[in-house]
């Protein structure tokens, strides 16, 4: 029987563990995760909440009333850790929609087990990223001016500015990915509702939107899901392209380049997949989801990492080559300076973490080793943060006017806000693991063999 299930399931594209063969098990295992949390969870949540406290004090308690001067930003370097972290989180936000929407449309066989967590990560990452433009501006209380709204003075934002495009891109992406995430959750929320009691039941009753699992509901659900997937797919490409244009549309040497959009999208997917690995590995361990998240899932994600890492490395190298090939003194200096200038260490962290470490993923043994993947994913996360730091800071600190060159050193407040952003993200993710089914119950069931009455059901069809 067991053999039969495996063979059958493989044939249908599922990649769950061979031990899984009862639909009930799925409900049980997944919904068990949402049960009463242990001390570890509370400890982590407390840590995250503390981090948010530090974050809010640093931002709203210190930076806003005192002035953005509490950061290390200065004359030549007007953008620093905040924009770096903004781009980092927007990048993280990419793989969720990629896995859930694009892989859905392509019917990739390995998405079912991880897409929920990846989608949640997307939504929370955009929620985190969206804070950073607000943190970054000098006058938070006027940040709403970037939104086009009718007013008596006929004052509109400047639609030529990439920052306005950014406002649209990020808000659109957030809206669509949040909707997509929520929509996919509905049947599972209903399943949770059916098991929950008390206050939780009331909560799930409301957000399950009256899901009964009727045929017509499933029909509409499937249509809506595929439409949203189709809508979200171009956004995966557009959001980070637009974010890259924040840089590419300027004339700053090191920013002003046509390669930025694909380069940023590849980098975003790269960092996003790495972040999924980073999040899913402990989740799998803690909740005992080995049956759901197998090495094959990780193998697939590792291959995606490998592919995007090569694209990113190619982009790095072509940037250096073109800077030399252009013959422009300013451009050459900018890139020479990246490698050997004041911020050489950041560039080399970036190159090693993003270009060299993932070379190990060529080896199947590495791809199949969960601890190795976890470590590599951490390297990639660090490398991708530094990639943005290199782009933002090294380009700005040595621009056209040599006399105005300067140095930037992040301040304590910026570091608090950077770390706080991880806590903010972690806080939501922790809540997610307890409040919503972290693995898509209904989609997993779709790829499992239907229950049969006779004992030989596994071999059937």
């Amino acid at each position: 029987m067991a053999n039969g299930v495996t063979k059958d399931a493989t044939a249908r594209g599922a990649m769950t563990h061979p031990d899984l063969h009862r639909l009930d098990d799925v409900n049980r295992d997944v919904l068990k995760m949402m049960g009463p949390p242990g001390k570890g969870w509370w400890a982590l949540l407390g840590l995250a909440a503390t981090g948010i406290g530090v974050f809010l004090v640093a931002w709203l308690g210190v930076q806003v009333p005192v002035g953005i001067g509490v950061s290390g930003l200065n004359g030549p370097v007007g953008w620093g850790v905040y924009i770096t972290t903004f781009v980092f989180w927007v990048g993280i936000a990419h793989s969720g929609t990629l896995i859930s929407a694009i892989l859905f449309l392509f019917r990739a066989p390995w998405r079912q087990s991880i897409y929920r967590a990846a989608e949640a990560m997307t939504v929370f990452a955009v929620m985190t990223a969206g804070l950073f433009p607000l943190i970054h501006v000098g006058r938070l209380w006027h940040a709403y001016w970037l939104v086009p709204y009718p007013n008596a003075r006929f004052l509109w934002p400047n639609f030529k500015s990439p920052l306005i495009w950014d406002v649209f891109a990020v808000t659109t992406y957030f809206t669509v990915s949040a909707t997509f995430f929520f929509l996919g959750c509905i049947p599972d929320i209903a399943a949770a509702r059916d098991r929950a009691t008390g206050l939780r039941k009331k909560f799930y009753q409301v957000i399950a939107l009256g899901w009964q699992g009727s045929d017509s509901q499933w029909h509409h659900f499937g249509k809506a899901y595929i439409f949203l997937a189709a809508l979200a797919t171009p956004l995966v490409l557009s959001v980070h392209s637009v974010v890259s244009w924040d840089f590419a549309m300027s004339i700053v040497p090191g920013w002003h380049t046509t390669i930025f959009a694909p380069y940023f999208v590849a980098g975003a997917i790269y960092s996003g997949v790495a972040m999924v690995i980073t999040l899913v590995v402990p989740m799998r361990k803690i909740f005992g989801l080995e049956a759901y998240l197998t090495t094959k899932h990780f193998d697939a994600m590792a291959k995606l990492c490998l592919l995007t890492s090569m694209i990113v490395l190619y982009a790095y190298l072509s940037e250096f080559f073109l800077a030399w090939y252009s013959g422009e003194e300013v451009e050459r200096t900018a890139f020479w300076n990246r490698l050997f200038g004041n911020y050489w260490w950041a560039t080399w962290i970036m190159l090693v973490c993003n270009g060299m470490v993932p070379v190990m993923l060529w080896f199947k043994r590495v791809r199949h080793s969960i601890p190795a993947l976890f470590v590599i994913s951490i390297f990639v996360n660090i490398g991708m943060w530094f990639e943005r730091y290199v782009i933002v800071v090294t380009s700005l600190h040595h621009e056209y006017e040599p006399f105005a060159w300067g140095m930037y050193r992040p301040s304590v407040v910026e570091m608090c806000i950077l770390l706080g952003s991880f806590c903010w993200f972690g806080f939501w993710f922790l809540l997610f693991t307890r409040l919503l089914p972290p693995i898509a119950i209904q989609e997993l069931k779709e790829v499992m063999p239907p229950p049969m009455r006779n004992k030989a059901s596994g071999a059937h069809s």
Binding site: P76, G138, R139, P402
Partner: protein, 1023 residues
């Protein structure tokens, strides 16, 4: 603004914008001299005739900042002085004003000023009334002069600084009536120069130089642009002398001989890095070569002994260099040799000054470029007394000879080396009185402080040179929160309490009495002549003619050899006046503290200049804190490696290390005088500043310097290019070719670049050019600026002028360290060729960098909220209220001229220092971007005046931005570039015109630069 003007009462005749209103003797200003008045804040129930709300009233006066006595215009608004500017009618400054002049406004409103007379009670001061204070002083003088008093008796001693002729006379009379003594002391002394002039020509005043007339100018280490006898006048002279004539393609040559390049030196075409102290020997060696055997009049024997070879040996340069220079000095007449200045006051400084005078004499420059006044007293009284006098006073004080010491306008407790013993001697005087408007190191020791008025609140006069006299008038009522009294008034009041009648009840009366006679020179009655003098700010009359003086032999023998220095250190210590603080008297001004030093570009703190080779040998890098040790003291100070100083010397500027001057000066930097011995030069008596060698050891610690300098190398970018003089005239053809190439870009849909060189920027925007929302529909002016880099001396006066005009905040040392300096103009200083090891070509480029008001501005499209946009007049405008603070515009500005308000910097400005703010310009909030506005408020003011008063458009020259107004070098021209007759259009038509980075990124700036002209071949293609 325009509505205010329109609704104004037409009954009042408005003055022309540039006409300055004089004050009739009585009225508002006179009451300012009375201290019994009760100050109330009331709106104008009955408006003062002079004051129209919203409209500035201008007064003339004389700058009291230093002994140069430049003429000043002061803009007042609603009875408060808000800006000082140079008076174009004044023959000394001709409209220019230096940074220190601008910063005097900060001393007027300084929060550290005394709120009333301060009477010592034990360790602290108690604020008293003037009646009490004057009574106390009178009583103490009487007590001290009582012959029976053996405990705290003694004579009265008056220690004075620089003062005008009438005040000086009053002091003399005051002291004479009390049978006391008067000593004069200034931090920076010209005594050796004065003494040399007396020895050589019997002149009692400093020589006057006509620098502008010279064809070959030699400076023997004389820093005349920043700290000489008259920085504005001499800086102007340098710019006139060395700027290229675009018609004849000629320019004067400036050679700097000295161990260290000051900002003056950085302007030179050639540098002869002579050994410290060898100026006299070199001058004599040159004079000897020029005069030939037997030449040199009474100094023939001396010249015989100083052959060029001996001079070369002393100076550590090649003999050919000296002979060649001597040959040129004689042939390129009129030539002029200056110096050595106060930075090179060594033990034989008078002889060195005399040597330079001999050199001028043998080259025939006396009477053409250098003038000695032998007829009148001339010069500023008391300005040049040296250290010898104060040394005698110190001895007298220490021996208990002095019963009452009165200090006025000087700060010897700071500006004398600790070794002089002044502080200890002064402390022994039974009763010490200070006339000071704010605390300083000397007043802190006093028993009674009589708060003096600022010169903008006082009456006074000046006689900067024979034939020129100007009245200093109060431009506003005394700042009400400071219960101050002009020193002259206080002296008269104390005199009358002592029963001595000095002929006047107030200093104003006294002053008028002094000038009763000048009515005769103008042929009208006194009141009219007085009003006229106040209105014009200057009275010129025929000076008694001085015959061309004959060189005289010295009565006593002088040593012309380089001096013997103290100690056995391997580096010579050069102590020079600061370009920002002078001798330290300006250190409490945050504007000056934050002004980047014209040479090092460092703000606030002190630094030790050291040659990079010397640093390399010792493992010392920029920012390392070193211990500098002389036989007389030691200091810890950060190093700044500078190729413009000899390898065997290190330099420290004066002016730092105050301990009791106030919130902005105290604790900032070190006092270089702590390393010096208390030695007076003979025979002039000046304090010796080039006196000692030092050892420098690395402490192993370091700091980030508060500098605005990123890189001093242009990195082959077209930023501050130069053109060789010999190639002038050919540049236009090259530009034509280049232009053709750029036009091809248009063919493929690119922007039309404005011709990089030799084009007609008046034809802007060009057909086909796309830029901004307003394109070429607008008929009005397009504002543009031209900056001639061949004229710019890098003196940085424009920086402070801009700061004063536009309420640009200062941010403090830690903020500058972080790279957050706020100045709207930055004088960039790039080294091209600076080599301390060989005599020859020197090439340093100064580039005033301000908002370029690009026609195709990179900052505009990236702003998400249109906070920056292009006005129809071609100005890149910044709307502070609309700014959200994304800082994208600053990132995208290739010139890096946008500055951001990281904090609410204006909150840190204490009352009443905020009174100095220009009411026409808003102060900026936390979190907004700002930058140069081309002084938009001045443009609007000129336009409104032209429209309302005469119904015409503004004329060329009526709009003068603060930087142009202030520039002593006349390097900046502003105007409407659409007007073919405008000055700016004509200047820009030069073949030297270029726009920074324009050919690289096509920003089409409105600021045009004229390339510096060099004699040597310009090495790089790009610059």
């Amino acid at each position: 603004m325009s509505r205010d003007l329109a609704e104004r009462d037409d009954g009042i005749k408005r003055r022309d914008f540039l006409r300055v209103v004089g004050v009739t003797g009585a009225g508002a200003t006179l009451t300012g001299c009375s201290t019994s008045e009760v100050e109330k804040l009331l709106p104008y129930v009955v408006a003062d005739e002079e004051i129209t709300p919203g409209v500035a009233t201008w007064y003339t006066t004389v700058c009291g900042g230093c002994a140069a006595e430049c003429g000043m215009w002061v803009r007042t608004r609603e009875g408060r002085a808000v800006k000082v500017e140079g008076n174009p009618d004044h023959p000394v400054s001709e409209g220019g004003l230096c940074s220190r002049g601008h910063a005097t406004l900060q001393h007027l409103y300084h929060p550290d000023r005394f709120h009333g007379p301060m009477i010592r009670e034990g360790e602290v001061f108690r604020q008293g009334t003037w009646d009490e204070a004057e009574q106390l002083l009178a009583a103490r003088i009487t007590r001290a002069r009582n012959p029976q008093n053996t405990t705290d008796g003694g004579r009265v001693m008056f220690i004075g600084g620089h003062m005008g002729p009438s005040m000086s006379r009053l002091v003399d009379e005051f002291v004479a009536a009390l049978e006391g003594t008067r000593v004069d002391h200034d931090a920076i002394s010209d005594a050796p120069l004065l003494e040399a002039a007396r020895i050589a020509y019997g002149s009692n005043s400093l020589p006057r130089y006509d620098i502008g007339a010279a064809r070959l100018l030699l400076s023997f280490g004389y820093d005349f642009v920043e700290s000489g006898a008259s920085p504005v006048e001499h800086g102007k002279g340098l710019s006139r002398m060395s700027a290229v004539n675009d018609e004849t393609h000629t320019k004067g040559t400036f050679v700097f001989l000295g161990p260290r390049l000051s900002v003056t030196g950085l302007n030179a075409d050639e540098w002869v890095p002579i050994r410290p102290g060898s100026e006299g020997a070199v001058a004599l060696g040159m004079a000897s070569a020029i005069a030939g055997p037997g030449g040199g009049g009474p100094y023939a024997n001396l010249l015989q002994a100083y052959s060029p070879a001996i001079a070369a040996e002393a100076a550590d340069v090649g003999v050919e260099a000296i002979e060649e220079l001597a040959r040129r000095f004689a042939s390129e007449s009129p030539s002029l040799a200056l110096g050595p200045g106060s930075g090179a006051h060594h033990r034989n400084a008078t002889a060195a000054n005399l040597a330079v005078m001999i050199l001028n004499d043998v080259a025939g420059n006396v009477g053409t470029t250098v003038h000695y006044d032998t007829a009148g007293a001339g010069g500023a009284a008391g300005a040049s007394n040296g250290y010898a006098a104060i040394d005698q006073a110190t001895t007298a004080m220490a021996s208990g000879d002095v019963g009452v010491a009165i200090v006025h306008g000087t700060n010897p407790a700071y500006s004398l080396p600790a070794a002089s013993g002044f502080r200890e001697a002064f402390e022994q005087v039974p009763f010490k009185v200070a006339f000071a408007s704010a605390m300083d190191e000397t007043s802190a020791l006093a028993d009674l402080i009589l708060p003096d008025r600022h010169f903008l609140e006082s009456w006074g006069d000046s006689a900067p040179r024979p034939g020129v006299m100007a009245i200093q008038q109060p431009v506003m009522e005394a700042v009400p929160m400071f219960d101050s009294k002009q020193a002259g008034d206080a002296l008269l009041a104390v005199s009358s309490r002592l029963g001595n009648d000095l002929g006047a009840a107030t200093f104003y009366e006294y002053l008028q009495t002094q000038h009763r006679d000048f009515a005769g020179t103008t042929g009208s009655d006194f009141d009219e002549a007085w009003r006229q003098a106040l209105r014009n700010g200057v009275v010129e009359f025929a000076a008694p003619a001085s015959p061309t003086p004959q060189l005289r032999a010295p009565q006593t023998a002088l040593t012309f050899n380089p001096p013997v220095l103290d100690g056995s250190g391997d580096l010579t210590l050069l102590v020079h006046p600061s370009a920002r603080f002078g001798g330290g008297e300006f250190s409490n001004s945050p504007w000056l503290q934050e002004l980047p030093d014209p040479v090092s570009k460092i703000t606030w703190h002190s630094w030790l200049e050291m040659n990079p080779h010397t640093g390399e040998e010792r493992g010392i890098r920029t920012g390392d804190i070193v211990t500098v040790e002389s036989p007389h003291g030691s200091l810890d100070v950060p190093v700044w490696l500078y190729p413009g100083i000899r390898e065997d010397a290190v330099a420290l500027a004066m002016g730092g290390g105050h301990t009791a001057m106030g919130r902005y000066a105290d604790g900032s930097g070190v006092n270089a005088l702590d390393l010096l011995p208390a030695v007076a030069e003979q025979p002039s008596g000046a304090l010796v500043t080039l006196a000692t060698t030092v050892t420098v050891t690395n402490t192993g610690t370091g700091r980030r310097l508060a500098t605005i300098e990123g890189s001093s190398d242009q990195h082959d970018r077209p930023i501050a290019p130069a053109v060789q003089l010999a190639l002038l005239g050919e540049a236009a053809e090259e530009a034509e070719e280049e232009h053709g190439e750029l036009m091809e870009l248009q063919g493929v849909g690119g922007f039309v670049p404005v011709p990089a060189e030799g084009g007609a920027p008046g034809a802007f925007p060009l057909e086909g050019a796309r830029h901004g929302e307003y394109a070429d529909a607008h008929e009005g002016p397009r504002w543009a600026m031209a900056i001639d880099l061949d004229k710019c001396t890098g003196c940085s006066a424009c920086v402070t002028a801009c700061q004063a005009e536009n309420n640009v905040p200062w941010v403090g040392e830690d903020q500058v360290v972080m790279g957050r300096d706020m100045n709207w103009i930055r004088i960039e200083r790039y080294y091209e060729h600076v080599d301390a090891t060989q005599a020859g070509d020197l090439d340093v480029r100064f580039l005033p960098m301000l908002c370029q008001h690009c026609g195709n501005a990179p900052c505009e499209p990236v702003c998400p909220v249109f906070a920056t946009y292009h006005t129809p007049e071609g100005v890149n405008a910044q709307i502070y209220n609309r700014c959200v603070g994304t800082r994208y515009c600053a990132n995208n500005c290739p010139y890096k001229v946008r500055v951001f308000n990281w904090y609410r910097y204006t909150d840190a400005v204490p009352e009443p220092l905020n009174w100095q703010w220009n009411p026409d310009v808003t102060v900026r909030d936390n979190g907004v971007m700002e930058k140069c506005s081309f002084c938009m408020q001045r443009i609007r003011d000129a336009e409104n005046r032209a429209a309302l008063e005469e119904g015409r458009p503004v004329r060329d020259g009526e709009v003068v931005p603060a930087c142009e107004q202030s520039c002593p070098a006349e390097a900046i021209v502003f105007g409407n570039i659409r007007d073919p007759n405008a000055r700016v259009t004509q200047v820009v038509a030069s073949e030297r015109t270029y726009r920074v980075l324009d050919e690289l990124i096509n920003t089409q700036p409105a600021v045009n630069y004229l390339k510096k002209v060099t004699f040597h071949e310009v090495v790089s293609e790009a610059h």
